[in-house]
């Protein structure tokens, strides 16, 4: 087994998933979950080797022309992330299999989920910036499909589009950043970059590369001011929110920053940008979550806040900060995945996600309440869950922060107080109090729906209880990979009585007080929001997109006016002016025109053609003009025959005849000539026609006189029979030497024919 194989299997599975619905039925979730489970076990088996200092790399030739390989690079950090993606993915698939039962197209949904899982795994195991980028974009696309899964709802569609536009814009910037990063190295291999980080840091490409990469990472990880797409993404079904928009995909930006930390990090600029954006996101997310009432939106804003914390920690970059980042990453994935799944469960059994209309659920579903309670304890950072260790490390990192220590501690303190407050609110307002009365009596969600939450909370508990024996081996290599030279901190639950513990105690106390006076707090927050933050980013974004669409519509209207004759004229004028420009600048043409050798019968044909052309121009009825152009065509056919181009002549006859028939058939539908064009328009058309005819004439004459190196026609004549067994050179070229061109051509005419067909069909249906 290998990473390449695992990815291949997952991508294949995502393709066949929609087809397996009938065979597997409701067991689909269980069967699909076996695949990520296998991957999980595989990566777990790699872990001891990695911890001993090994590296796992794989390489498959992809685009050898561009020296680009599909390479995988697996170190401690990749392993940790893979375990999160595949471990949570396993439970999400089981959960989704049950959760999606009442909805249509379940098979396709499972396919999208697996597709996302494969893409996300690809991001974290990529050993090459370009491969990483490809997988990165795939996660954006699968996120779009999943957010817009309830596509008959307009808000789901617009949320999906918004997420795609923002992450897509970031992806574009990211690609630019990667290309710039590759310039000094001449390769995109991450291993090569890691080997010599100074090369980019000291080059003058560092600043633009850094800004572009940060644009990519910040949009993906919903950093302020791009944070608004994440709450919007809550339009997706709950399994998606639990998987993509809390535990994994939104962490791709964090992953990237951490992965690039040894390469691009360590500079003043890196520190300032990451700290500023991270801190702003952390506080903004926490603040905005206070006034939310939708369970999933509350969780979404706390996710934004958590992502800000992670970015801030990477930016700080000290020993404790990196350790805290790694631990908090795991902590957050575990409790947030659980909470989102539980939010979905609560909505399923009670019919609402609005926290103001929930309450008193404990007697109906004690099992679920306990699981959710434990996850919230982890979120609040209370022992003995892993969340406590995470929060302690964060405080430790903040206390040891190199600059602006008190500002950072205050921001962090505020955020954690909000987390405690929300933890209390999410449990007591949902499970305690008196029941507001439900349409249907709620019941305990089925086992498959709480299986995932149960195991994730269990993991959180076990990791929290056995920090040295279980949590440390999982995370120590990751710390090293993110920041070489930093040692993993010894994880402990009990640190003794110190400043950190005091801060923790104060946090819990303040959170409890905030909950006690929650009505006043929420009212205050709402007033402040109304006063200062009334303009919603999401709305501003939508408005600017709308304005842009209006602009492009007007522009397109100007260029694509719909008058065929003016398209033709534009085409002719531009083409002929270009050619005239070239003719003007090239050497004067030496022509020796000798008409004495010309047979008399051909002269007659030429005169006929000229006469026909004139009468076509002068004609007062379309039919006469048409017949006259037919005469021109036949005249040219005769010239072809005279010069023994029989193939061309036959084709020409066929085409001429068919063109006339076609034109007559079309003429039948046209109104009579009513208005003739004015003199001005005629002069203009005459000028255009002269320009075009003139350049064609000059071209033909020049082609006859100029001698290129070696005409390829000799080659064809020579090889036609010996290699391709055909004496008709023209045909051999068409069907053998240049068969691929011909294939392209017939494809084009087939598409054109289909276009005409459907256009006529459409107008007929409309009229």
């Amino acid at each position: 087994m290998s990473t390449g194989l695992l990815l291949l299997v997952l991508f294949l599975l995502s393709g066949v998933a929609p087809l397996t619905r009938r065979v597997l039925g409701n067991a689909a979730g269980w069967v699909f979950a076996l695949f990520p489970l296998g991957g999980f076990v595989y990566y777990l088996s790699l872990l001891p080797g990695i911890n001993a200092g090994a590296l796992v790399t794989e390489r498959f030739a992809w685009l050898p022309v561009y020296d680009l390989d599909l390479s995988f690079y697996i170190d401690g950090f990749s392993i940790l992330f893979s375990l999160i993606v595949l471990g949570i993915g396993t439970f999400i698939l089981v959960y989704a299999g049950y959760y999606m039962r009442p909805y249509p197209m379940k098979g396709r949904f499972m396919g999208y989920l697996v597709f996302f899982m494969a893409s996300m795994l690809g991001v974290v195991v990529s050993g090459n910036l370009i491969t990483l980028f490809v997988f990165w974009e795939l996660t954006s696309i699968s996120s779009y499909l999943l957010i817009g899964y309830f596509h008959e709802k307009p808000e789901a569609r617009s949320a999906a589009l918004q997420a795609l536009l923002i992450t897509g814009f970031g992806g574009l910037a990211l690609l630019g950043g990667f290309v710039l990063m590759g310039i000094p190295y001449g390769t995109y291999e991450i291993q090569a970059l890691l080997a010599d980080p100074g090369l980019i840091r000291d080059s003058n490409l560092y600043l633009p590369a850094l800004l572009l990469v940060l644009a990519g990472a910040f949009t993906k990880s919903a950093q302020f001011p791009f944070h608004f797409w994440l709450p919007g993404a809550m339009a997706a079904p709950s399994p998606v929110s639990a998987f993509l928009h809390s535990a994994t995909m939104v962490k791709a930006g964090v992953f990237l920053l951490a992965r690039l930390n040894p390469i691009m990090g360590g500079t003043e600029l890196w520190y300032i940008l990451l700290s500023a954006f991270g801190a702003a996101t952390m506080v903004a997310g926490a603040w905005l979550s206070i006034t939310q009432t939708d369970l999933k939106r509350i969780l979404a804003y706390t996710t934004v806040s958590a992502l800000g914390t992670l970015v801030l920690l990477i930016g700080t970059g000290t020993q404790y900060a990196i350790n805290a980042m790694i631990i908090f990453l795991v902590v957050h994935a575990l409790y947030k995945g659980t909470l989102f799944m539980m939010a979905g469960n609560i909505e399923k059994v009670s019919g609402t996600r609005d926290i103001t209309r929930l309450g008193g659920l404990f007697p109906f579903m004690p099992r679920a309440a306990v699981i959710m309670g434990l996850a919230l304890v982890s979120m609040a950072g209370i022992p003995p869950l892993l969340g406590f260790i995470g929060k302690e490390l964060i405080y430790e990192a903040k206390v040891q922060a190199p600059n602006w220590r008190f500002l950072v501690i205050a921001a962090s303190f505020f955020t954690n107080v909000v987390m405690v407050f929300l933890s209390l609110r999410l449990w007591f307002d949902v499970f305690a109090g008196k029941s507001p009365g439900y349409a249907k009596p709620p019941h305990e969600p089925s086992t498959a729906l709480v299986l995932g939450p149960f195991f994730l909370v269990l993991a959180s508990l076990v990791l929290g209880l056995f920090p040295t024996s279980i949590a440390t081996p999982l995370t120590s290599s990751a710390v090293l990979a993110v920041s070489p030279g930093i040692e993993a901190v010894k994880l402990r639950i009990w640190h003794g009585f110190n400043l950190i513990l005091l801060l923790s105690a104060l946090t819990v106390l303040s959170g409890a007080l905030a909950y006690r006076y929650r009505h006043r707090l929420i009212a205050l927050a709402e007033k402040v929001n109304l006063r200062y933050f009334a303009r919603e980013f999401s709305r501003m974004f939508t408005a600017s997109i709308d304005r842009f669409l209006v602009f492009t519509k007007r522009q397109t209207g100007n260029i694509q006016h719909g008058y065929h004759r003016f398209y033709m004229m534009t085409l002719f004028v531009v083409a002929s002016l270009l050619v005239w420009g070239v003719i003007w600048r090239s050497d004067p043409l030496m022509l020796e025109l000798d008409f004495s050798q010309m047979p008399l019968n051909l002269v007659a044909v030429v005169v006929l053609i000229i006469a026909a052309a004139l009468s076509a121009v002068m004609a007062h009825s379309r039919l006469i003009a048409l017949i006259a152009t037919g005469v021109i065509g036949f005249g040219i056919t005769i010239i072809f025959i005279a010069f023994s181009g029989v193939d061309l002549a036959i084709t020409m006859i066929m085409v001429e005849v068919l063109m006339v028939i076609l034109a007559v058939a079309v003429l039948y539908h046209l109104p009579r000539y009513v208005k003739y064009s004015g003199t001005g328009a005629r002069m203009r058309d005459g000028l255009v026609a002269t320009l075009v005819g003139g350049f064609m004439m000059v071209l033909v004459l020049q082609a006859g006189t100029s001698q290129l190196d070696t005409p390829i026609s000799e080659f064809f004549k020579e090889k036609s029979y010996s290699e391709a067994f055909g004496r008709n050179v023209v045909n051999v070229i068409l069907v053998d030497f240049r068969a691929l061109d011909t294939l392209g051509e017939i494809t084009v005419i087939a598409i054109a024919a289909l276009g005409i067909f459907s256009m006529i069909r459409l107008t007929k249906k409309n009229s």
Binding site: T651, V666, F725, G726, N728, N731, V732, L734, A750, A753
Partner: protein, 137 residues
């Protein structure tokens, strides 16, 4: 258009034209002709019939739809490159077999002919597709 002259000649000429178009298709490799011209002829024979009897009757008298004909043509042209792959050559290399070797009637068949057949069908299909939809009332 109800013309007895046109109808009789269309009815008599159609089979002839179809056969002729096949001949043109086959001889194209060595003498003037080929799939494109053959396809135009086949299409022209159907259009002639349609002018005499109307599109609906023509449609009923043939057992395929123009869209299908176009698609089949493209498919044949596309697939004609595959035997080369099986033989280990580059896609669309011409592969030839000779039937009845030595006898009086030697017949050479190759994938270029198959490709030309695809062109023939596609051209005839798209021509009738466009013409029928314009002529149809």
């Amino acid at each position: 258009m109800e013309s007895v002259l046109l109808q009789i000649s269309a009815r008599r000429l159609r089979p002839l034209l179809v056969v002729l178009s096949l001949v043109v298709l086959y001889r194209g490799h060595n003498e003037p002709g080929g799939g494109f011209i053959g396809g135009l002829m086949l299409g022209a024979s159907l259009i002639l019939y349609a002018m005499a009897f109307g599109v609906r009757k023509t449609q009923e008298s043939i057992f395929f739809r123009p869209v299908a004909l176009t698609a089949i043509g493209l498919l044949v042209a596309l697939l004609s490159g595959l035997p080369a792959l099986l033989a280990g050559h580059v896609y669309m290399t011409g592969e030839w077999i000779t039937l009845f070797t030595g006898s009086l009637l030697e017949l050479k068949l190759g994938t270029p002919l198959l490709f030309d057949l695809g062109v023939y069908l596609a051209v005839a299909g798209m021509l009738t597709l466009v013409m029928f939809s314009i002529m149809e009332e």
